[in-house]
């Protein structure tokens, strides 16, 4: 699974990794709003944000090239719209679309690669995200890879039985029905798994939230980090 890499990165020990999730989330919000509201054509300011984010990546001892490449997953989408914008005579906007979406994705990626997910979700909850949604997101993430693996096994099994072949219309219809059946089976297995998970949780005394190994505390360094991020974002936004 490609995502496992980010989880490995998030277990680093740098100064940025050790900051409280809430401070990092608030800083991310500030940076995203600053980037999101900047005027079209503010290339210098956007370059400054890029430099800041790059500095954060280096400071967190993250693999710079991989981070920069991974943030590019947004480019196919924004690139398509940029080409359309460019062709319809608005090249400035086209460039801005690519710049802004890439920088925003990079900022979010740096947060997620420096914050282990349990800490991130605990931070989100103490910032006021409804408990139900927070729990559902965490369950989703926990079982995402399990269910995906099951889906992959089913796909492989169907290929082994010859499911990927044929091309006539009748065969096509059969394959459509077979895919629907496969999804129904996956649904049934997920349903059963959810019931099993719930029983196991009850047996272990689940009290309504996932506990953290160490309670998160805001330190002076966290406050300092947020204030410096705020100052840098605002300074670049209004001076450059």
């Amino acid at each position: 699974m490609h995502h496992v890499l980010v989880e490995q990165w998030s277990r680093g020990r740098s100064w940025l990794h050790r900051r409280d999730a809430r401070a990092k989330l608030a800083s991310l919000a500030v940076v995203l709003i600053a980037i999101g509201t900047i005027r079209i054509g503010a290339h210098v300011a956007l370059a400054a944000y890029f430099a800041l984010l790059l500095a954060a990546t280096v400071a967190a001892r993250l693999p710079v090239t991989s981070i920069l490449l991974r943030a590019g997953t947004v480019l196919p989408f924004s690139g398509t719209f940029a080409v359309v914008s460019w062709l319809s005579g608005d090249p400035q906007r086209a460039i801005a679309l690519v710049e802004k979406s890439y920088l925003s994705a990079l900022a979010a990626l740096i947060l997620i690669s420096t914050t282990p997910l349990p800490k991130l979700f605990a931070g989100l909850e103490s910032l006021g995200v409804p408990r139900l949604i927070n729990l559902v997101v965490q369950f989703l993430y926990r079982y995402l890879f399990v269910i995906s693996e099951q889906a992959q096994h089913m796909r492989l099994a169907s290929r082994c039985r010859g499911g990927g072949h044929g091309g006539f219309r009748a065969a096509n219809q059969n394959r459509f029905q077979a895919a629907a059946g496969a999804l129904a089976v996956l649904f049934a297995r997920s349903y059963g798994r959810a019931e099993g998970v719930h029983r196991a949780m009850l047996a272990r005394g689940f009290a309504g939230h996932f506990p953290l190994l160490a309670p998160a505390r805001l330190s002076l360094a966290d406050g300092g980090f947020f204030l410096s991020a705020l100052a840098a974002a605002v300074l670049v936004r209004f001076v450059l």
Binding site: T73, R142, F176, G181
Partner: protein, 309 residues
């Protein structure tokens, strides 16, 4: 279509974030009421199921295939409020962890896919398959319409938001993307019908038959609102050049440079100084009002009809 950050104009993403927050809060409370604590892991695992379902390809024609999006399927199996929560969780995870869709534009994506998309998928089901004696044919029709509308409404809303933000799309591109949306919406409808029927064969209790309540009128209102959204985009695509040039001239985006300095209300007024844009924004606001009042009325009526509950 997950809108990344940097695409939407500030008033668009800010107002949709502000709108989505109370909606999600309301849905979360309602989902918590509807699903017992025992079902809590179910919502998460169902989200993982929808994620994983993208790996199973449905053949469409030679060389092409599609996959399940899931809004209507979730609405038919879990009920509308839990389905909306599951979709919200999926979108939040995609934005936070997988960089698929922006964080500031999460409100817009949640509104398009988790709120409007799930409701659009649920309304036909509620109207046509409402009674327990509904025939198989009408249930299939309802499921197809649900899948079809949920994808089409989400896509049209995303297009409207992009156009309002001044992202230029010439008529040809708009027409082409609408055509693609209609095709993928029809595919989603067909997949929803096939999968729900297959689930029904495995265990009929997993399909939630909506109970008939005196709330059908609101379902009709909601349905009309959905159709208006789709109709609005179709009309817009008929005269896209006008929209595009207007959006470029008055583009909300280019005029909203000082978010941090001015309150939101001020620049909505300042930004919307063209007749057409004002109308479009008013239309969107009207639609949003219809949604909110639908939910409010529904709640009121529920309280009145079932004072004990």
């Amino acid at each position: 279509m997950h809108i990344p950050d940097g695409f939407l104009a500030t008033p668009v993403w800010a107002s949709l974030d502000i709108l989505a927050l109370p909606c999600v809060g309301f849905l979360a409370r309602r989902a918590q009421r509807e699903t017992e604590e025992t079902k809590l892991p179910l919502l998460g695992v169902m989200g993982a199921f929808v994620f994983a379902a993208q790996m199973i390809n449905f053949p469409v024609g030679p060389g092409t295939s599609g996959h399940l999006v899931g809004g209507a399927l979730l609405a038919a199996t879990l009920g509308p409020a839990p389905a909306a929560i599951v979709m919200t969780a999926i979108l939040a995870l995609q934005a936070l962890v997988f960089q698929d869709g922006g964080i500031l534009s999460l409100g817009a994506n949640v509104f398009n896919m988790a709120i409007a998309g799930v409701l659009a998928g649920y309304f036909p089901y509620r109207m046509l398959a409402g009674s327990s004696g509904a025939s198989r044919g009408s249930r299939n029709l309802a499921l197809f319409l649900g899948g079809f509308l949920s994808v089409l409404v989400s896509a049209c809303l995303a297009l409207i938001q992009l156009l309002l933000s001044g992202v230029a799309m010439p008529g040809g591109v708009l027409g082409l993307s609408l055509g693609l949306f209609v095709v993928s919406a029809a595919l989603e409808g067909a997949i929803t019908v096939a999968v729900v029927n297959a689930i029904d064969r495995l265990n009929p209790t997993w399909i939630k038959a909506p109970v008939r309540q005196p709330r059908r009128a609101f379902a009709w209102i909601g349905m009309t609102a959905m159709l208006l959204v789709v109709g609005g985009v179709l009309v817009a695509s008929a005269a896209p050049d006008g929209i595009q040039s207007l959006a470029n001239q008055t583009g909300i985006a280019s005029q909203t440079q000082a978010l941090l300095a001015a309150p939101l209300a001020e620049y909505q007024v300042r930004g919307l100084n063209s007749e057409w844009l004002r109308k479009a924004a008013a239309g969107l606001c009207g639609l949003i009002l219809v949604y909110v009042s639908c939910i409010g009325l529904e709640r009121l009526l529920r309280r009145r009809t079932a004072p004990g509950a």
